[in-house]
């Protein structure tokens, strides 16, 4: 049995002496009077005085009982076992009921019946019987009785602490994580000795029980905001598995979270609820440290006009500033770091990064309540070749500061060389215009230097390696040699785009040269036959926009009018997506689910195959047009090709700007690049790690948002590379989860939600300590008060 206020019990004990002292020591002094008829008093003196003594003792007992019950009620007793509690309740109700019944009998058999009193007593007795019946039923149907037991018995506790970036939200100068740590620390101190405690942050850590309670507290203290994006359900599932193996009979789970929707996102509730249902004796508490009406400024993802620009190129940077809360004004600053060799370096166990920036730009915007405002910066200073890090940043204070910065990295390089190959009957003008617009070529700001070649010449061409990417437009049949030459080119790191069209046909079927093993290695599978439709009802139908070729479409997916550009004919290919040697995936399909755009990686390079051409400009002579993709304003084709070109030409440029948690991958030709890098994390306190790179540079541990700087030495020259990692925009969404949704994960009646320590104490007490007796004691006090009143009235009736 535990006591909420043990001190009150001691005070009650002292108070108990008051009626006893009054009874024995402070008896009133008798008044002396003369009374002649004393013999009538003397006759029954003996029996009357003993009865009086008995009555006094009874009254004293009742008064002591009253004080005792009051002290008991205030001391807040509770027992661990639900079953034991029910027995105690039954005992209390029984005792009280017997008392009430006895008085009822006395009242009933009195000469002068007081029917009101009898009625009240009767109702009280019925109430007692009902309550007693309820307690008895609970005992009979108790399921958890065997699982509770002694209150001081140790528990196995799993404390899941939400360490998402949202927990960095500050209110009253305290972040949610700090509030969570406080709550967790308090919780740990509540556990009985010998308890096993596991502090489990939502950072994909393996769950384990700390050696002792102090170790658990230390672990809690070291928790930091984590960007890995593990959700609470996933973390809880891991923790439940471990908790299931614990020896203790009593198991408790505490979720300390801000209850934002994102912490529960993208998870299937069934898995968790099924796991929870396995052991219903586990008590589950949700401690809400979140803020009901949060206010925040935040920046959306940064969009760069190009992640790689030429030395004289112009960079356009766009993003949006979002406001959650009331209208406000904010200034957003864009800056790009100036390289400061030898930085980054480590001094005094701290990484030093460049501090100077090129002339930045400030934009001040008024943002309306719960809305967003677009921002656009341009940067057009000539830059030497290299990697440049920049950021845009909201100035001023904000409750959640973590989404006030967005980072970006650009590469300034030389002009890339591309080759467009086409048969004589195919016009390459669209591809030429996209790669090297005449105006930019003349102005010297074109990113690509393009060459166009007829296919018959291409077959004899030898120096393919000088091109960064080759685009094969509606190719004619060619021998295996040609296909093998292309494979070698891609193997060496080149980018190849193949846009199949009518030239691949031999009558109603594909020409056999497109079906050879060598051709299939490039084309991702055997070319079967063209698929025709005479109706204008087949369109490109994208479902997934995560691939870099959709970079320009991703944010305006609903604006692209796919169904205005019908496709009449396309090649049927069954891509071999299971090949381990040549990883293949379908990026875009037609409405009939046939592949439209397929990607294949061969060695260090990559191939994109499109099963319908991009050279059918409206009317075509002598035959039916294959599609209308390049007629009219040709929006889908434009966006698609604009995305595919850099993917093929620049190859690893996509890794310059990634999300936190993603891997960054770059080419690393040992002839040009170092084999060992120092990787400087955005956390200046974190020492740089060493990364060994072979032909490919792969860095997986992008745990923090910011700039990652890679430093290595090649040919005795220091070489700097790098990339930026940003938080996913949804990560800092402070929208709270609806309780209905929470119920779906945890079960409607399965958990108890608390916002204050005392709530969780009460609820924890209710669950862990079985039952409190405050109402029962109050009821018993009322009965004793009534009895005492009746007795004193009866004994001292005038």
């Amino acid at each position: 049995m535990t006591w909420a206020n043990l001190g009150i019990l001691g005070l009650g004990g002292i108070l108990l002496t008051v009626p006893i002292i009054l009874h024995f020591l402070m008896r009133p002094k008798p008044k002396d009077i003369v009374f002649p008829a004393m013999r009538f008093l003397q006759q029954r003196s003996q029996s009357t005085s003993s009865r009086m003594r008995m009555r006094h003792v009874l009254l004293l007992l009742m008064r002591c009982l009253l004080i005792g019950l009051l002290a008991l009620a205030l001391a807040g007793p509770s027992v661990a076992s639900g079953d034991f509690a029910n027995w105690l309740i039954l005992g209390g109700i029984g005792t009280s009921g017997i008392l009430v019944g006895a008085i009822l009998l006395l009242a009933f058999f009195r000469k002068n019946k007081n029917w009101i009193l009898i009625g009240i007593l009767g109702a009280l007795l019925v109430g007692h019987l009902a309550w007693g019946g309820w307690a008895a039923t609970k005992i009979l149907t108790s399921e958890t009785a065997q699982l509770l037991g002694d209150d001081q018995a140790p528990v196995a506790a799993l404390i899941v602490v939400d360490t998402s970036p949202r927990m960095d939200y500050k209110q009253e100068n305290k972040s949610r994580l700090e509030a969570a740590k406080e709550a967790g620390d308090w919780l740990i101190s509540q556990f009985p000795g010998e308890s096993q405690v596991c502090v489990l942050p939502t950072n994909n850590d393996r769950p384990f029980f700390s050696v002792d309670v102090a170790a658990a507290k230390r672990r809690l203290e070291t928790l930091e905001v984590d960007f890995s994006g593990a959700t609470i359900p996933a973390t809880l599932l891991d923790g439940l598995e471990m908790l299931g193996k614990a020896q203790q009979e009593r198991k408790e789970i505490y979720l300390i979270t801000d209850l934002t929707r994102e912490s529960w996102a993208d998870e299937n509730p069934r898995a968790l609820i099924k796991q929870l249902e396995k052991d219903p004796s586990i008590s589950l508490f949700v401690f809400d440290v979140g803020v009901e009406f949060a206010t925040n400024f935040g920046l959306t993802q940064v969009n760069l006009s190009d992640a790689e620009i030429s030395q004289n190129g112009t960079l356009a940077i766009s993003a949006e500033i979002q406001r959650q809360g009331g209208a406000a004004q904010r200034t957003v600053k864009m800056s790009i770091e100036k390289p400061e060799p030898p930085r980054p370096v480590v001094r005094d166990n701290k990484s030093l990064f460049p501090e100077t920036v090129f002339d930045g730009q400030d934009i001040t915007k008024d943002i309306r309540e719960n809305s967003s405002v677009p921002l656009k910066f341009t940067f057009s200073q000539p830059l030497p070749r290299g990697i440049y890090h920049g950021k845009i940043e909201i100035e001023g204070q904000d409750a959640l500061a973590i989404d006030d910065q967005r980072y970006f990295t650009i590469r300034v390089g030389g002009v890339k060389r591309t080759l467009v190959v086409h048969p004589e009957n195919v016009n390459p003008r669209l591809m030429e215009a996209l790669l090297a617009p005449r105006a930019k070529v003349e102005a010297g700001t074109s990113k690509y230097e393009n060459e166009t070649m007829l296919q018959e010449k291409f077959v004899d061409s030898q120096a393919l390696n000088e091109y960064d990417a080759i685009f094969l437009l509606d190719p004619e049949p060619m021998g295996d040699e040609g296909w093998r030459k292309l494979e070698n080119y891609v193997q060496a790191g080149g980018g190849l785009g193949v846009f199949l069209g009518h030239n691949a046909a031999d009558g109603p079927l594909a020409d056999s040269s497109f079906q050879t093993q060598s051709a299939q290695r490039i084309l991702t599978g055997s070319l079967e036959q063209p698929w025709f439709t005479e109706e204008s009802d087949l369109f490109l139908s994208p479902h997934e926009y995560s691939h870099p070729i959709f970079d320009l479409i991703r944010d305006k997916e609903t604006d692209v009018p796919w169904n205005r550009y019908p496709v009449f004919t396309h090649w049927g290919i069954e891509p071999d997506e299971n090949s381990e040697e040549l990883p293949t995936q379908t990026l875009l399909r037609f409405g009939n689910r046939e592949p439209a755009v397929i990607e294949r990686n061969i060695g260090a390079g990559r191939v994109i195959v499109m099963t319908t051409p991009v050279t059918e400009y409206g009317y075509v002579e002598d035959r039916q047009s294959w599609n209308t993709l390049t007629s009219g304003s040709m929006i889908p084709a434009y966006y698609l090709l604009r995305g595919a070109i850099p993917f093929l030409v620049q190859r690893d440029v996509a890794s310059l700007n990634i999300r936190v948690g993603q891997s960054a991958s770059f080419e690393n030709d040992p002839r040009d690049y170092p084999e060992i890098y120092q990787v400087f994390s955005p956390e200046a306190k974190k020492p740089p790690s060493i990364l060994n790179a072979d032909k490919k540079l792969l860095y997986r541990f992008t745990d923090y948002p910011g700039h990652y700087r890679l430093k290595g030495v090649v040919n005795e020259q220091v070489l700097l590379r790098g990339f930026s990692a940003n938080l996913d925009q949804a990560t800092t969404d402070l929208t709270r989860i609806e309780l209905d949704r929470l119920d779906q994960f945890l079960g409607a009646e399965r958990y108890q939600l608390a916002r204050q320590k005392n709530e969780i104490q009460r609820q924890q007490g209710k669950t862990r300590r079985g039952q409190e007796f405050y109402p029962l004691l109050l009821m018993m006090m009322m009965v004793v008060m009534a009895v005492e009143y009746l007795m004193s009235n009866r004994f001292y009736k005038s």
Binding site: K31, D32, V34, F35, A37, T48, S49, F795
Partner: protein, 297 residues
């Protein structure tokens, strides 16, 4: 109505002279009787007769004389004489009152005086005997008007003292009474019940009519005490510490039983028992006397 107020002990206490007290009590009582079923009772005169020598001049009806110019005297209905004895308990317990105007002794004296007045008015001889452990004073019965003065003078000098020996005292009284008399005993009878009754039986066997005026203090009947008391018997000086609240019910039952038992025993042996307490009006006692008087007459 104005005269009837003198039947209340609280009012009569304001009159210090005993003769006046008696007079007021009786007048109040008689005034009340006129309007009662007892109208025409033996105390009323029934006719006039011509004055003859020797008649008391006070009996002449002057109103009739004024009308007829002849002397007439009032003739009462009952001309039978009864010898009455007022027997007063002098014991110390009689001097007790808790919160009344008159203590039991004063109440008894007042009542006795009124009765004496009434008897003398009816020309009945009346005597007085006082006792505690034995007979202390006695005044032989006479019906003269002067007897009233003597009797009242003696009554007013009495002081309650000593203990009661009822059996002995009444035994003495029985021996003293030669003729059949009406014995009116004023006492609280806070003595052994059996001895009291045996003494009374003896008196009754002597052919006397006995009226017991059982005078108790109002507090002795209702037991109004609250709290703890150290009670002392004024006669024996015995002490008893009690919690009055716990004793009340028992006590009132006891005293009631005592009075009922006395009444029952008295009824059996033809003794009139009049239970009184000091808060009661005097007419109850006077009426009892008259009822007895009529039965005898």
């Amino acid at each position: 109505m104005s005269v009837e107020k003198y039947l209340k002990p609280s009012v009569i206490n304001q009159i210090k002279r005993l003769d006046l007290r008696a007079q007021f009590v009786v007048k109040g009582f008689l005034h009340g009787l006129h309007a009662s079923p007892f109208h025409g009772f033996s105390v009323e005169f029934s006719e006039h007769r011509k004055y003859s020598h020797g008649d008391d001049l006070k009996d002449i009806d002057w109103q009739v004389y004024a009308k007829t110019d002849k002397y007439y005297v009032k003739k009462f209905e009952s001309e039978t004489n009864i010898t009455g004895y007022l027997v007063m308990d002098l014991s110390k317990s009689m001097g007790y009152t808790y919160e009344q105007e008159l203590n039991k002794f004063d109440y008894a004296i007042c009542l006795a005086a009124a009765l004496a007045y009434l008897m003398v008015m009816q020309q009945d001889p009346v005597g007085l005997i006082t006792f505690n452990d034995k007979i202390r004073q006695s005044l032989a019965p006479k019906s003269k008007r002067t007897q009233l003065g003597n009797l009242l003078s003696l009554l007013s000098k009495l002081e309650p003292s000593g203990t009661t020996d009822f059996q002995h005292s009444i035994g003495q009284l029985s021996a003293m009474l030669k003729t059949r008399s009406l014995v009116m005993i004023f006492s609280d009878f806070l003595v052994d019940e059996e001895q009291t009754l045996s003494a009374l039986y003896r008196l009754r066997h002597g052919g006397h009519d006995v009226i017991l005026f059982h005078v108790l203090d109002e507090a002795e009947v209702s037991f109004p005490f609250r709290g703890v008391f150290n009670m002392r018997d004024p006669e024996t000086n015995e002490e008893l510490k009690i919690d009055a609240d716990g004793y009340r019910k028992e006590y009132t039952e006891q005293i009631e039983e005592f009075r009922e038992s006395l009444a029952r025993q008295c009824r059996k042996s033809g003794i009139d028992y009049v239970p009184l307490d000091t808060s009661m009006q005097f007419d109850r006692a006077l009426l009892e006397y008259l009822l007895t008087r009529r039965a005898r007459g």
